[in-house]
């Protein structure tokens, strides 16, 4: 345990070494936020709200949605696929495997370290902007709690999906393009840019069979109090089911993958 805490701390510290990177990243995120908000304001065209498949959605709610989705990406995002891709391609993975530690937990610690770093240096400014410029409000206590729980689940779910795609590198050696694919799929079905509220029926049906909406769409809806308490619990249960299913898949793939692993280079 102490080991993993230390590794988490190291990963946090390593980020501090690249300060310019952090600043640029933050500016990029905030710029992106304002662009998205401008687009939605233009789309609404001065009307106070539009009808969607969950009812009336006001421009204010839409702006909150965009801010929340940006914030969530800072909390739950990861570079697991790129990381594993690099380790497998260069053969450095050998150095991780000769140590008496769990590879999954090892990567998880590094990710957590990075994310805590982002939470302190990127999320804080975003929260300030949200509350002071766009007058965001906090939901009821129950919804806030549910939001936090669902957010933790989102993190786990996103991490596991990335890890699975990383494992595929054991067979195909190069998987970074999966990372791009995953990003786009989550962007669409997870509702990062366009909420599932505005989706045609068919896409909503497809999305309900996929794990991606549980990463962004569900926590945001809970925060915005768009779901009844029952529906919220139902969504949390679905998150747990997906986590369980994908954990099983991770385990099986890891077992198989490690057997066909080829260590690159000398």
């Amino acid at each position: 345990m102490k080991l993993y805490l230390r590794m988490l701390g190291n990963s946090y510290q390593q980020n501090i070494a690249y300060k310019a990177n952090v600043l640029m990243n933050l500016m990029g995120q905030i710029l992106g936020l304002f662009i998205q908000i401008s687009v939605w304001v233009a789309l609404y065209g001065g009307s106070q709200g539009v009808n969607s498949n969950i009812g009336f959605v006001s421009i204010q709610e839409m702006i909150y949605y965009v801010i929340l989705s940006t914030g969530i990406s800072m909390i739950i995002g990861n570079q697991v696929i790129e990381q594993m891709d690099g380790k497998i391609k260069s053969g450095i993975i050998a150095m991780d495997l000769i140590k008496p530690m769990n590879f999954f937990v090892n990567i998880l610690c590094e990710t957590l370290g990075n994310n805590f770093f982002r939470i302190t240096f990127q999320l804080t400014p975003l929260i300030l902007i949200g509350f002071f410029i766009f007058d965001m409000t906090i939901p009821s206590f129950t919804n806030m709690m549910l939001f936090i729980i669902s957010l933790i689940n989102s993190f786990i779910l996103n991490f596991i999906i990335s890890f699975i795609l990383g494992i595929i590198g054991f067979w195909y050696l190069s998987v970074w393009h999966f990372s791009r694919l995953l990003e786009d799929v989550v962007r669409l079905f997870g509702g990062i840019w366009i909420p599932l509220w505005f989706f045609p029926k068919s896409l909503v049906v497809v999305s309900s069979f996929l794990p991606f909406q549980y990463i962004y769409y569900v926590p945001i809806n809970i925060y915005l109090e768009k779901l009844s308490l029952n529906k919220s619990f139902e969504m949390l249960t679905s998150q747990y089911i997906w986590i369980l299913l994908l954990s099983g898949l991770t385990y099986v793939l890891w077992r198989k993958g490690i057997n066909s692993l080829v260590i690159q280079g000398g």
Binding site: M7, N10, Q13, A17, L97, P100, I263, G266
Partner: protein
């Protein structure tokens, strides 16, 4: 029961064959062909506790592949490896606690943090008790001179410094077996010597078994009690060094400087009656090449001294370098003939 037991071990790699040019690349996309390369082919050997074994062979002979299977990061295609009664790849985490590994070309330390921090992480990872950790750090820092760079980030170390830090890290948990894959590659003479002394010391004091691959024959001669030579994935030789010399290179050279130059020719003619391989006159000296199995140096010298007086002589024993080189080339010639 031997500590390491390798039985009929085989490892085969599958490699896609890339066709040339753009059309080739498109063809590959739809119909990929594979070739199979056998890196290690049906090898067997046993290693006992306390041995220092040199695992030698030319580039691409299968050395690293074997080491990787012994440390548990590659799964054999056929055959078995048992190390300390465990199957490495099946019991990876328990196995990892029994062994120390240094790959000369890579580091197991954390790139961005200082050496001491990295070593501390090792302590937690291997659950090393405090007093053992303190004692080892003290001992290793002294022998390996870690003091001068212990607070530097690993990425800023020189190769020699990094290698010493890596060795220290690999031995903190008192492993039973130490695997070294080219530990002296690219190092200067002083650091090489330091590392050799360290390995010897650890082996003597702790009875740590050492398996090392290297291309440096000095390493072999100064460290190894036994060598295993592998080429084309097969074992060419397994035994001690002196026997290796007897078998593959028992040629020695005596160089004689006679008092009078005019003796040179007559001396050479007289030696023809002895069972020597070759005689040569070079720079007013006589070079005699002979096989130790046929005749010994005393017989040659007494013959010469009975004929004339000499000022000086040197005996040049066969270098292990030469022996191994001969083995490799002989083998590759044989390989070519087979085809």
């Amino acid at each position: 029961m031997s500590l390491i037991s390798v039985n009929n071990l085989t490892k085969q790699f599958q490699r896609p064959i890339r066709q040339e040019g753009f059309t080739g690349a498109v063809k590959d996309l739809f119909h990929r062909q594979y070739e199979y390369k056998t890196a290690v082919n049906d090898i067997s050997f046993q290693i006992n506790q306390g041995e220092i074994v040199g695992y030698l062979g030319p580039n691409g002979a299968g050395k690293s592949t074997t080491i990787k299977m012994m440390v548990g990061i590659l799964v054999p295609t056929a055959g078995s490896v048992t190390v300390n009664e465990l199957i490495p790849y099946k019991n990876r985490k328990i196995h990892a606690k029994n062994i120390g590994v240094v790959f000369g070309q890579r580091t197991q330390l954390w790139w961005d943090i200082p050496v001491t921090e990295s070593l501390l992480l090792m302590k937690y990872m291997y659950k090393i008790p405090n007093d053992q950790y303190r004692k080892n750090i003290e001992l290793f820092s002294d022998i390996l001179d870690l003091h001068e760079f212990k607070n530097t980030a690993v990425r800023q170390l020189s190769l020699g410094q990094r290698m010493r830090a890596d060795l220290c890290a690999a031995l903190l948990h008192d492993p039973k077996i130490l695997f070294l894959d080219e530990p002296t590659i690219g190092l200067d003479v002083v650091v090489k010597e330091k590392i050799r002394e360290f390995i010897k010391e650890i082996n003597k004091v702790r009875q740590t078994t050492v398996v090392l691959t290297t291309h440096d024959m000095d390493d072999v001669e100064k460290l190894c009690s036994r060598v295993i030579v592998i080429d084309h994935g097969q074992i060419m030789y397994d035994g001690n060094i002196s026997h290796l010399k007897d078998k593959y290179g028992s040629d020695e050279i005596i160089t004689i400087e006679p008092e009078h130059n005019h003796d040179l020719i007559s001396l050479r003619d007289k030696l023809l009656s002895l069972n020597v391989m070759d005689t040569k006159i070079k720079d007013l000296k006589l070079q005699i090449t002979y096989n130790k199995g046929d005749i010994n140096s005393m017989q040659i010298l007494s013959k010469i001294m009975s004929e004339s007086s000499i000022i000086d002589f040197t005996i040049q024993p066969c270098e292990i370098d030469e022996v191994i080189r001969r083995m490799y080339t002989e083998n590759s010639l044989k390989g070519k003939l087979k085809i």
